[in-house]
Symmetry: C2
Subunit: 340 residues, 2 copies
């Protein structure tokens, strides 16, 4: 059983999308799982009532698995992360993560201010062992199974050792969430040869080669959507958060351009929807901030109720698979167990 705290105030479509998403998730999940809706109770409670008597009435059985946790402060998308966390102690983010730190919750999901969520998660949950930075692990669709790309934007100017840490984090994610037994880890570069890339990548290549990870070498930009190169399939693609963030946002913008062009040339909407399945980030729901002692799932600001539903389900998988504990084992051990 997992107790998932959901930020009811986070995202462009809050509180409607998170609250509806919570209900949809519970309806699909095992009844042992419960949900903590964190936010302004004066807003959430009436909304729940209206959804349960209105459009989501068929799911009213899940009502008993939802607790509303009052958090009157609201962090805006435009708030500066550190100051928001400091000054809005009664915000859904601070309250939700504090509950997890106190052992009263197992995971936190938010579509709110990403910067604030990263800061609050790191401050309140803390990092495992000797880890220096947490990383966002995002799923990219491929012509076969999705691959984990990280870091997707939590860190810039990463050192070689940090890239190796990301490889380790992504490897646990691929194992626990995607069920890949011995995840193949690749390093994103501008050529497959070990001597191609920027300074940090060149050094990380050597460290990864000497590590206990299943390192399969460099991949290029073209190999991500292909799920690997002719030298083999990959499960995890490691990069600096600057590169990862640019790539993620670039990929997210593709469907808009494609759909516009395809519709213009007369392609039917149903065929389009079919073809684009898996290209929509709401299929994955969110990306975990890997490395914190606990579970914090970052959802897209424009998340629909469907995206939130999938993010809650991802949070449950993270809790059930004990992902955080497994990460802790890789980073909390003796220095000798660490590469570099």
């Amino acid at each position: 059983m997992a107790r998932i705290a959901l930020d009811a105030m986070g995202g462009d479509h809050a509180p409607q999308a998170p609250v509806a998403g919570a209900i949809l998730a519970l309806a699909e999940l095992d009844p042992s799982h419960t949900l903590q809706l964190v936010g302004q109770a004066s807003v959430i409670t009436p909304l729940l009532d209206s959804l349960f008597t209105g459009e989501l009435a068929q799911h009213s059985a899940v009502r008993s698995r939802i607790t509303v946790i009052d958090a009157p402060d609201v962090i805006e998308m435009s708030d500066k992360p550190a100051s928001a966390i400091r000054h809005k102690q009664n915000s859904s983010m601070v309250v939700g993560l504090k509950m997890q730190a106190a052992g009263e919750s197992d995971a936190f999901v938010s579509a709110g201010n990403t910067g604030a969520q990263m800061v609050a998660s790191t401050v309140m949950l803390k990092l495992h062992g000797d880890l220096k930075r947490a990383a966002i692990g995002t799923l990219f669709p491929t012509s076969r199974e999705p691959v984990v790309v990280l870091d997707s934007g939590a860190n810039v100017d990463c050192s070689a050792q940090e890239l190796v840490d990301f490889a380790r984090l992504g490897s646990v994610y691929a194992q626990d969430i995607l069920g890949r037994e011995h995840p193949a880890v690749a390093l994103l570069s501008i050529g497959e040869e070990a001597e191609k890339g920027c300074k940090a990548v060149l050094e990380a290549h050597q460290l990864l080669k000497d590590s206990d990870l299943n390192f399969v070498g460099n991949v290029e930009g073209r190999d991500i959507l292909a799920g690997g190169s002719e030298r083999g399939e990959v499960d995890v693609v490691v990069c600096d958060g600057f590169v990862g963030n640019v790539l993620l946002k670039f990929y997210e913008s593709m469907p808009t351009l494609m759909v516009g062009r395809l519709k213009k040339s007369g392609v039917e909407s149903d065929k389009l929807a079919n073809a684009l399945e898996g290209f929509d980030y709401s299929d994955y729901g969110g990306a975990p901030l890997l490395g914190v002692r606990g579970v914090s799932i970052i959802s897209h600001g424009s998340s629909s109720s469907r995206a939130i539903k999938n993010a809650v389900k991802l949070a449950v998988r993270a809790v059930e698979s004990r992902m955080s504990e497994h990460i802790g084992r890789r980073f909390g051990g003796s220095k000798a167990a660490k590469v570099g």
Copy 2:
């Protein structure tokens, strides 16, 4: 009139694709332009004869505008750039670029070993003024006009000053080749705010703000294919060559995945071809190596004759617009005219 030297031995489909592409280009260009086919004469001459008596017989009038320049050495795709240039002095690349340096040719086009072309171009043509590095300027399709993204892979670990130089180079490219009067230059980052990004980008942002360029601020990965953000359209997107190369290869891999999925869901091929127009790099033909004293166009290794045709036409535009001279003016002037 422009004299374009074309590497007949470069690319996966050489010599067939370059030689046929040369003929197709001349057939479309003003008769004042001529072509120098550089490579193994023993291979090129019979091929020309067979094309002019066979499939391209209708274009046999252009035969008199083609000169074959013998260059018996061949640089392979797998050759190490610096050593290839040193040891294969009679290769098409060295011979073709030497002709330009000697004033016997106006531009060089190749689909061969990109690394070798970059080294040979820099060594033989030299860089303008106080420029430290040349950059590859690639066109990306957008929902409006194409944008220039640079650097697309010539340089990694770029300093802020180098990013500013790329902005200047891209600005001339957009003006001379794309006809943008006062090109809007943006810096690629992970947020639109000036304080978001890696160290070099943060510093470059300030330098660009104080420059005489039409700097419109940061754009994110999502803004490239949109041709800008809600704050305005952009013509030039500046980034480190590591980021640019990863992005370029990622974007080039999109159509394969999309086409596969769309065909599977029953979309007709003609509608697809229509929608994907402009997504194919062969539409643009090649990317200039900006900053060298002259014109060197880098084409994709897998270039078709159509891609080569477009690359030759791009080379002609670069020569006719005096792009290199305009770049020289921006970099050759007094130090006072330079930012940073």
